[in-house]
Symmetry: C2
Subunit: 427 residues, 2 copies
């Protein structure tokens, strides 16, 4: 790998090399057996545990730089590695090794009247570019997920985590070598220069098949605006919980509080609570009391405030605000129809939950809302690839093309058709 | 529908209206039953047959304009409607009605240890924008395919076919009405102004989920370069046939001639013939003689020309040229490995065929070439949604995202997750 200290004039050449190397590596990778890929993942997990001291030392350098730069506490927290977080990283790689290998799976097959037999078979996507912020664990997650799906990956992490990411990346490369896979299967952009991101967004002369941005809104928005290759991205998770009059109150209380408060900073956290107007006298006050008791600020319509004193006012902008904080907006709606109308107007199409004992209400909610994930009688915080049994995720997609919802190993694949004949020609 | 004669200053407003109307129509469409959609398709087919005289009269106006404009014969041919072509259009709509409705299909389902039951279920994509050249039949094909998959569609056909397309579109709208579906399910941009295309490529404020360009290279390239929404497109079909030394000569002859000569102007037509060097003495001359006898110009390497006299020379640019004409480039290669190397270097990843009796050769060809469609002992001209049993196609995608190969009804869908719980919250 080239040296870190170079001028941005070298970046286009460097990135073109990285692109060519990734494309070349993607061919043997696409043919690699499940056993070989899993051996590499196992060796990576072991290398990360063996190198934990070196990784922590590299992280200490990054942390010192970030503190000197006066970066925010939440930023420092995401950047920080601990022995426990390193162990979780290794366990995450092993969880991905345990996931079924999608490559080669026959997704569908059929015969034609002329005797042709057609199969649709899963293939790797090819080369994936992952652009992320200063969260060193993404280096391991993204590298492992892409490898399991037979893809080469180009990782471009935040500049403040470069030392940590390089230490982790070195472990990934050792794992590749031990399994006899090419080093270039997982490359890390070795420079902090932002021109490297711009080069990736152009696709590196066709070398990159898809870009995955993983980070805050400004990163994702930049990638979506500038990318000349397909992007798996979600801009935000503006998730709703609707409590129907048929809801069991205890269940509703548990789901509402968990959806909002378990972790407020994740995209699957609820931001708006919709309560059936018919349940205002029975469910409204207990639910809002539970939220307040859990430390949540409640912003409510005038109608709600008249029924439950002491609440802040909600404004129109709240309905489209992803707080990512201990704040929730609340309104009464006219049953499931009102909930559907509110959600279809304001949702970011990420995740919505309905709490109801009435199955017809849940069925209608499921049918008429077009969000990536719909839950009945469960917390929105289950919107997660690990919770879906995918072994991990590289993000949650809210677009409708290719991948939607959690992007795990299977979503990092494409397919091709294999057609077998006995000499057929077309009349 | 607004009048045709308006200034381009009105176009942004007009297009914004069309986008809003499409988005609004997409909701009832997504919920429409299979029976309702099929009733609409059946009524459209009938209306087209009933209105055939009006459609032919409209087409006569377009044809007179095109002739006056001095447009090329192939252009005029694609623009021309005949009673037979109108019948084929109606039959095409009925074939789409006969295809299985993908919407609502549970693609996968599984249980989690915590009792959550997860389903991945097919949904419409939403709103599709189709931009095509002056081929009036695309109006019917694209409208019907999008409707069957539960999508609203915005059609923008070539300006030289506007009268024909409007006459066909009127039949489609009558079919929608008869089935009780919204008129705006299938809208046609009523102006010839090119600014309408530009507006569609921006996505009409999020109203368009995907753009499908259907036409020649310059149209597709413009759409791919300018679109700010996902695009299903293929730039070209640079298809190869490899004849192995194990090939049955008669079968190889039939497949090579059919792949190249059945129709030379389609994207699934072969452009390059690769012959196993070990079969030069047995297969080369008979295959080239058959091509020449069928009226094909053969451009060959010096090695081939030394073995078969009277052939034109091939140059490096031929390997990347989609002739779409009765011309083929030929070279000898070192077995299937040589064929794979040539194809991976020059192919547009559309369709490739191998002719071989040796199964191991076919298996390797299938494994190591990453094109959308691979055929063993069959003609490349089967690369077609109708031939695949999809009831029709809106095009062939050579990208790796979402749809690849023929884009039929099923490929015009997305999916969402339905998660059913009993009060689960995340620990």
């Amino acid at each position: 790998m080239r040296d870190l200290q170079q001028t941005s004039g070298d970046v286009p050449d460097l990135m073109a090399d990285i692109g060519r190397n990734a494309r070349a590596a993607s061919r043997p990778l696409a043919l690699a057996s499940t056993a070989t890929k899993n051996a590499a993942l196992e060796a990576m997990a072991t290398a990360i545990l063996v190198d934990r001291e070196q990784i922590l030392a590299a992280n200490a350098i990054d942390l010192a730089g970030a503190r000197q730069g006066g970066l925010a506490g939440s930023f420092i927290d995401r950047l920080t590695l601990t022995p426990e977080r390193i162990e979780a990283m290794a366990a995450g790689i092993r969880a991905i090794a345990a996931v079924k290998d999608p490559v080669g799976e026959v997704m569908a097959e059929w015969d034609r009247p002329n005797g042709l037999h057609i199969e649709r078979v899963r293939t790797p996507l090819g080369v994936i570019g992952v652009i992320y912020e200063s969260r060193p664990n993404v280096t391991a997650d993204a590298g492992a997920l892409c490898l399991k799906a037979g893809n080469a990956v180009i990782l471009r992490g935040g500049s403040d985590s470069l030392n940590s990411s390089r230490a982790i990346h070195a472990c990934l490369v050792r794992g590749l070598r031990q399994a006899g896979l090419p080093d270039h299967a997982i490359q890390m952009v070795p420079v902090a220069d932002r021109a490297a991101v711009g080069a990736m967004l152009t696709g590196l002369n066709g070398a990159i098949d898809v870009i995955v941005p993983r980070g805050g809104k400004s990163l994702v928005a930049r990638v979506q605006n500038e990318a000349r290759v397909p992007v798996f991205a979600h801009l935000e998770g503006l998730c709703h919980v609707y409590v129907d009059k048929s809801a069991d109150l205890d269940m509703a209380r548990a789901i509402v509080v968990n959806s909002k408060m378990r972790r407020t900073g994740i995209c699957g956290a609820a931001e708006t609570l919709l309560i059936d107007r018919s349940a205002a006298s029975t469910h409204l006050a207990p639910l809002l009391d539970a939220l307040k008791a859990a430390g949540c600020e409640v912003r409510a319509t005038e109608e709600v405030r008249a029924l439950v004193p002491g609440l802040a006012s909600v404004s129109e902008t709240d309905w489209s605000t992803e707080y990512l904080d201990a704040i929730i907006s609340v309104t009464l709606v006219d049953g499931v129809e009102g909930a559907i109308a509110h959600i279809n107007r304001w949702s970011s199409a990420h995740t919505e939950a309905v709490v109801a004992q009435d199955q017809a209400v849940a069925d209608r909610f499921f049918a008429e809302i077009d969000s990536a994930i719909l839950l009945h009688n469960a917390s929105t915080q289950f919107a997660d690839g690990g919770e879906f049994g995918m072994g991990g995720e590289i993000g949650i997609a809210t677009g409708k093309m290719h991948a939607r919802g959690p992007v795990g190993v299977e979503q990092l694949t494409s397919f091709k058709y294999r057609v077998r004949g006995t000499g057929q020609v077309r009349p």
